[in-house]
């Protein structure tokens, strides 16, 4: 893990190349996170690849519902030689959830970006085949957003067995 | 002359009898509930999109033809192998010539590359 100062140094280098790319750096329980502008995500990943983080372990979406901008996409990078991990976070609003796709430079992001699109509705521009991957093709709604109802049926007990919606009284 | 063929005839008769009986019982006693989806082609649970006029590649027929050729050869060897002592050495030489001819055919086919899957 790059320790807190290492993270600041990396943020410093990126800021030299692109002044307002890095919005914030978070260091929590030994995990370094760079919060980055959505438009600058591809260049930041390239500079991190230059610093040795050549393996993308994971790409996943988060819904920070009460806070705005609400949808987050997190890239976990790994440096196999010096066994070092860093993560890059991008925050997008729900009304224009557009992030550049990194599938051409990082092939592992293909299915994972499709899953984030399927579950959160973040549109990855430039993705070769952006379709739903887990839900049926013609499914409306993005299930893993916090405001999407969890669904399922009410469990029937003796006290509510006679007026449960959907079951004949 | 007929007597020597009796076992074969009995065998064929019995086989068709038992087979026919089972088929009849199944069709007579089994339930008949024709449903439209039963007649659809089964493609791992999905509606199938294979076009009806799809023709299989030529390689399949080639391999099938070669198989039939050499399979019949083996079938001819069975009767000879069973009664080799009775037929004497003449049949032995005859069989060797027969196998030799087919080996030539095999080598030809092999060199022409029909055996590799194309």
């Amino acid at each position: 893990m790059p320790d807190a100062t290492g993270l600041e140094l990396i943020a410093q280098d990126i800021r030299e190349a692109d002044p307002d790319a890095v919005l914030d750096t978070v260091f929590f329980r030994g995990r370094a996170t760079l919060v980055v502008e959505p438009r600058a995500i591809r260049d930041v990943l390239e500079t991190l690849r230059g610093k040795g983080y050549g393996f993308m372990a994971s790409l996943h979406g988060v819904d920070y519902w009460p806070e705005e901008p609400r949808l987050g996409v997190i890239y976990e990078l790994l440096d196999m030689d010096s066994v070092d991990r860093i993560s890059v976070k991008v925050r997008v609003h729900t009304d224009r959830p557009h992030v550049d796709s990194v599938t051409d430079r990082w092939p592992t992001a293909d299915h994972q970006e499709r899953e984030v699109f399927d579950m959160f509705g973040v549109v990855f521009d430039g993705h070769p085949d952006l379709r739903r991957i887990l839900m049926p093709e013609d499914y409306e709604g993005f299930p893993q957003r916090r405001d999407f109802p969890i669904g399922g049926e009410p469990v029937i007990f003796t006290f509510n067995e006679d007026h449960v919606p959907g079951y004949p009284d | 002359m007929l007597r020597s063929y009796l076992p074969a005839l009995v065998f064929v008769g019995l086989g068709s009898l038992v087979g026919g009986a089972f088929a009849l019982i199944n069709s007579r006693l089994g339930p008949h509930r024709p449903a439209r989806s039963k007649t659809d082609p089964y493609e791992c649970g999905l509606p199938s999109e294979v076009k009806q006029d799809f023709r299989f590649g030529i390689s399949f027929y080639l391999i099938a033809m070669l198989f039939i050729l050499f399979d019949i050869e083996v079938i001819f060897l069975y009767p000879v192998a069973v009664q080799l002592k009775a037929f004497g050495t003449f049949a032995l030489i005859e069989t060797i010539v027969f196998i030799g001819l087919l080996t030539v055919a095999l080598v030809y086919v092999w060199r022409r590359g029909a055996l590799e899957w194309r």
């Binding site: 669904g151 | 339930p31 439209r36 989806s37 089964y42 649970g45």
Partner: protein
Amino acid sequence: MEIERHHSQDLLRGLSEEDLERHVEERVLTTTLDRALHWARGNSIFPMTFGLACCAIEMMAIVGSRVDVARFGFEALRATPRQADLIILSGRISIKMAPIIRRLYDQMLEPKWAIAMGACSSSMGVFNNYALVPADKFMPVDVHVPGCPPRPEALMHGIVKLRAQVLGDPDQGWRERYRAAGTEEVVDAPVEGAQADNVFVGRGGETSGA
């Protein structure tokens, strides 16, 4: 058994002489044939290898040597619905998989039975959420095996119970068996798009779900 005896007694009371004769003679003749038929069917049901999720691993375990399903004639696990007459829904049924399972069930041999193995296929089990459908919602199920995943012995108990039901029960289509007449979804004339086995009416030509 005594339920059937009461049933047949009040049935006979109302019959006159020759109807009584014909009824008894007909019953005696068919019962022996039926019983032989059910005996043959009960002991040679071919289950379909249909592993969905975790219960599939336990379903594979019943084919193993410790809890051997071959003792009851269930061993010939068939891969295609054309040769199988029992479908064991071992695992969670997601909404994307439901139309496919319904189609498989339709394409199975008659007479056919269905076992909903595990809590997930019987009642969405642990995951009571948007993604799952209980098996009863779209197909008739004969035996529900509880457990998550049920032990191989529990599934064996379910299979033996199904076998007992088959032996004792005259063969009926599932609509007669569950008195569900009038629930036919597939009208004879294929109405455009309204197919029972396609819960999501996909666009024509394109494979639905692809």
